[in-house]
């Protein structure tokens, strides 16, 4: 075995041999970056239209040559050419000298009801061009020694189907989060609450983590973060974008009354072989992608009807387990040190001009197992095995078909298995296996230009098998609990849960730029045989070319957790809870790359399935109501230039009311949520970003006194008014710096990421002594946490 010093030397040797020093031998090439690309002037198509263009950016930043690589039709080809002829770029640099270079630019016109000029085409892809790391490998197609070809992509805004959709694309996801963590970046958006360590689910607009859902390509996944906060379950490089719907979302999403995060996977490149390897202190990942059929040939126009198949695979594994034993407290026996892995696979097949298919394979596993021989001093049941294993594996296939100019279909079928095994000493243990078949089909019909009709089916059949033994699960937080004093429950068995749903949407262009979007969704929940009807209505009105007003109202139903409705365990008479969402706001484009947003919202919550007081029978019942009121502000600069970022602020108040208790603040109410993120391309391959968050602490419940329970030798807290106190404000600064060396056929990046730069303790929760007479604030995770990594991309 190597000593630590020897190990460090070996690692250093590797970096020296293959890292920055190797770069000295190759020229430093910086690809062109977008300065200004005017809007593409064209009516919105009925269906998505993609135009791929190869253009030569001269040394002065102008476009000197332009060639359609993949044509659509004359209207959009011409609109694309017209826009790009007026475009200006920051020219490429080779060893610090400006030089001509080719880039490949893809302009996507997405189908929408509004004329495109009313909403301004979004050119996220420009950002990619500007952001050298995503440049594709570059076999010079133009025979000039100083030229290189880079990839770029433009996408117009997604068609509006809801009042508010906030999206982040690759560049922002990679630079604005921490450690390039895409979902951390999404947390910066208005309406997103600050999740606490250990909670792997999002807090959206004052809703409980159990009331929102994360989707991957339209189907739900069980977690957002590995180990409840270390890193996202999918790396940024595998993503195209993340869509965040804080409320009043489309009827295509259901079964939640909070908000939705939909993670969208990136299609593999279709121009050859690519790969990436990333190594940091925490984890290592590798990905590879290749064109299997129909590789784009440099210099040749493509046949739009030619089939094309490309595949992408990625894998990531942590190695915290390699050193965890060395830093774990002596009294903890480490059986399985914390470790996670995730993987992603995508096969994209363009079958013809009208049909395309995608197959995804995605999975994730977190596990750790510790053994505490001696019971904890504050809870004698906290002894023995502490174990958490969460795994899911899924294969998902979708087929997109455009049968005619007015009718299209998208179908998705997925099969997945999930396993949850958790042991908290003698407090509770559960081992649950789930197998699920999910299917979604959506048909879009556009009989006239002013009307879009969507009919969809969203079905899930889940099989649960498992055992549970321990304290009865609680879904509402309150005073500190003494597990020894809580009632216990146990159960073993299996059950099917069928949840079919049907939805219909319409998009009606009432006037130029004014779109009305009524929708309705019908859900059925098998365990309680309840059927619910959710009508929703959204309106977006582009009152000027740069100003859009929006308003929405809708009903959002969520069925109880399965465990709450299980016979002999929960309450079989429990009903679904629901929320009414009301929101109104304005979106203002300030310039081509900057926009402002403001939105007010109100949510009223009804028939919430709450824990009964002290968890006495029937344990869970529809005795909860609540409301959330808030205002969201956002200023955002898109990543088209050297500097980009966002500032957001959310003011909200979230309250809950159990019928036998006074009205109280929700346990995750965060009155003030302020975020600021700034990223700067410093030149010569350097990029840096900083993220700062200042938020209210979560409310907490004071302990007035405690009673000694002689049977358990534990003190049971007597709570004061629920959620009546709040700790000091939470604040944290994260920094990320990376340097890219660009070679002829590959790139090398080194990065330093520091979480919680000034080591803010953020003591928002209290820990107590054995009889609750003394307390102190507990520091939040993470502490000052630097991470160094290198990444190579082919």
């Amino acid at each position: 075995m190597l000593s630590r010093r020897k190990g460090a030397l070996v690692a250093l040797s590797f970096i020296v041999a293959y890292g920055p020093f190797a770069a000295l031998a190759a020229p430093v090439v910086v690809p062109p970056r977008v300065d200004v690309v005017p809007e593409a002037e064209a009516q919105a198509p009925d269906h998505e239209v993609i135009v791929e263009v190869e253009l030569l950016v001269a040394a002065d930043g102008t476009v000197s040559e332009l060639r359609i690589v993949s044509e659509a039709n004359a209207i959009y080809d011409e609109a694309t050419i017209a826009a790009l002829k007026k475009a200006r770029f920051f020219p490429a640099e080779k060893d610090g000298t400006k030089t001509a270079a080719k880039i490949r630019y893809t302009m996507t016109f997405r189908a929408r009801l509004e004329p495109i000029a009313a909403t301004t085409a979004r050119r996220e892809p420009a950002a990619e061009a500007a952001n050298a790391p995503s440049a594709t490998p570059n076999k010079p197609a133009v025979p000039e020694a100083d030229q290189a070809t880079f990839g770029a992509r433009a996408v117009t805004e997604a068609p509006a189907r809801e009042t508010t959709a906030r999206s982040m694309a690759t560049t922002e996801l990679r630079m604005l989060g921490t450690r390039g963590d895409p979902l951390r970046a999404v947390e910066l958006m208005p309406g997103m609450g600050r999740t606490t360590f250990g909670n792997p689910l999002p807090l959206i607009r004052g809703s409980s983590p159990f009331e929102s859902q994360v989707f991957y390509e339209g189907l739900p996944v069980p977690l957002l973060y590995h180990f409840g906060g270390i890193t996202s379950f999918v790396p940024a490089r595998a993503l195209d974008r993340v869509d965040f719907y804080p409320g009043n979302f489309s009827a295509r999403y259901g079964r939640v009354l909070g908000g939705v995060i939909d993670v969208r996977a990136r299609d593999p490149h279709t121009d050859g072989v690519h790969g990436a390897l990333d190594v940091s202190f925490i984890d290592a990942s590798a990905s590879a992608e290749a064109t299997i059929v129909g590789k784009t040939k440099d210099g040749a126009a493509e046949d739009p009807d030619a089939p094309k198949v490309a595949a992408l695979v990625g894998f990531r594994r942590s190695y915290i387990d390699a050193y965890f034993s060395a830093i774990a407290p002596e009294e903890l026996g480490v059986r399985t040190a914390p470790a996670y892995y995730d993987y992603q696979g995508t096969v994209y097949a363009k079958l013809s001009r009208k049909h395309s298919a995608r197959v995804f394979v995605i999975g994730s596993r977190d596990s750790f197992e510790l053994v505490a021989d001696r019971p904890d001093d504050n809870e004698p049941l906290a002894r023995g095995t502490f174990e958490a294993k969460t795994a899911f594996h899924r294969v998902q296939a979708s087929l997109k078909s455009r049968f005619s100019d007015t009718f299209s279909q998208e179908t998705t079928v997925a099969f997945g298995v999930e396993n949850y095994r958790q042991n908290i000493g003698a407090i509770a243990r559960q081992d649950v296996d789930q197998a699920a078949i999910r299917a979604r089909a959506e048909w879009t019909y556009r009989p006239v230009k002013e009307l879009r009709l969507v009919l969809g089916v969203d079905h899930a059949s889940q099989r649960f098998d498992g055992t549970y033994e321990g304290v009865r699960p609680q879904f509402e937080a309150g005073a500190p609990v003494t597990p020894s004093a809580l009632p216990r429950a146990r159960g073993t068995g299996g059950t099917w849960v069928h949840t079919p749903a049907l939805y219909a949407e319409a998009g009606l262009l009432l006037a130029d730029g004014v779109t009305l979007m009524p929708s309705i969704r019908v859900d059925h929940f098998g365990p309680t045989t309840s059927t619910t009807l959710d009508p929703r209505l959204a309106l977006r009105a582009a009152v000027t070319a740069k100003t859009t007003l929006k308003v929405g109202v809708g009903k959002f139903t969520q069925h109880p957790q399965v465990v709450q409705a299980l016979r002999d365990f929960g309450n079989t008479s429990i009903r679904p809870g629901y929320a009414m969402h009301y929101s109104a706001g304005v979106e203002q484009l300030v310039s081509d790359d900057a926009k402002l947003g403001m939105e007010g919202f109100v949510k009223t919550l009804h028939d919430l399935p709450f824990d009964t007081r002290n968890l006495v029978a029937p344990y869970y019942d529809n005795i909860g109501t609540g409301s959330v009121v808030g205002l969201e502000l956002e200023a955002r600069v898109l990543p088209k230039n050297r500097v980009y970022g966002l500032v957001s602020y959310t003011l909200s108040r979230s309250i809950r009311h159990r019928e036998d208790e006074p009205i109280r603040l929700f346990e995750n109410d965060q009155t003030h949520l302020a975020s600021a993120a700034l990223a700067v391309r410093l030149g010569k391959g350097w990029e840096a970003s900083a993220t700062f968050r200042l938020t209210s602490a979560n409310p907490r419940t004071p302990v007035l006194s405690a009673t000694y329970d002689a049977a358990t030798d534990q003190y049971v807290a007597r709570p004061g008014p629920l959620s009546s106190e709040r700790g000091p404000a939470y604040h944290r600064l994260d920094l990320h710096v990376e340097k890219t060396w660009t070679f002829t056929n590959w790139k090398l990046m080194a990065y330093l990421d520091i979480q919680n730069v000034y080591n803010a303790a953020n003591r928002e929760t209290l820990s107590y002594n054995y009889d609750y007479t003394r307390s102190q604030g507990s520091p939040s995770f993470p502490p000052f946490f630097p991470s160094l990594g290198i990444r190579g991309e082919l």
Binding site: P200, P375, D377, F475, L486, N614, D713, R774, S778
Partner: protein, 284 residues
Amino acid sequence: MRHTLLGVVAMTATFAAWACEPLEPAYRLERPRLLGAKLVVTAEPTRANLRAGDAVVLETYTGSLTKDRGAFASAVFTVCAAADDPIEARCVGPRFADTSTRGPEDPRVAFTVPPGSAGKMLVFAMFCVEGEAAIATNELRGACDRGTGQEMVVRFEVGGAPNTHPVLGSDSIALDGVPIVEGRGCGEGARVVRADGISHDLTIAVAGAEDGEEILVSHVVTAGKLEGLYSNAGSDGTFRVGWEPPTTLPEGRVPVRLHVVARDGRGGVAARVVDICLEKGTAP
């Protein structure tokens, strides 16, 4: 179905335990404290399950850093049928056996389980360090007319499954393999240990556990550092816990008291108190 709740608890508890220094070691007796209670059937002292009509004595165990016996000046007790509420102590129906005690010893309260009764019952008590203890008439809340105090609840079931109390015998506690004879202070026959910075092994043996029964033992000491507050007795009823005596001591000998209470989780309780006499030594 969301399965994350336990994961949240596990992760949070693990991190909190890791990140926080304990405010006050629970294994060290630094102020007057309740340590346990045992319901003894007068006619059959080994029996731990209660039946309707049983004459019962509630023995209480308390500890203090300064008092040799009876950590609390006064106490008041009430007994009633318990509401089906596992967290908050509440009565159903009238209270009975209201009793006040005052004196130097740990309180002992006698009462009779009402004939014909069954189900869950509870004893609620208030202990005061200085003043007079009282319990409110409309709810189970205790108060002291001056100074601090502690509430206690003892839950029991009438008509439950048969059970017997575990046993902590006279030689059940050994220091470095040698049983400690129950005694008081540093008097004659006391076990003397030199505080020379060396850790010692306390071995505790609990007898009377039924097959498969897990005995939880709490151990509290008035000086030094124990490995923890709780231990689980092994299958043979024996376990070891390390004790590190304090290194700073006054001249002469100082008695250190060790309180041990064993519980079987079904009403069975055993308790024992031993003293170790500590004298100043030289660190190795």
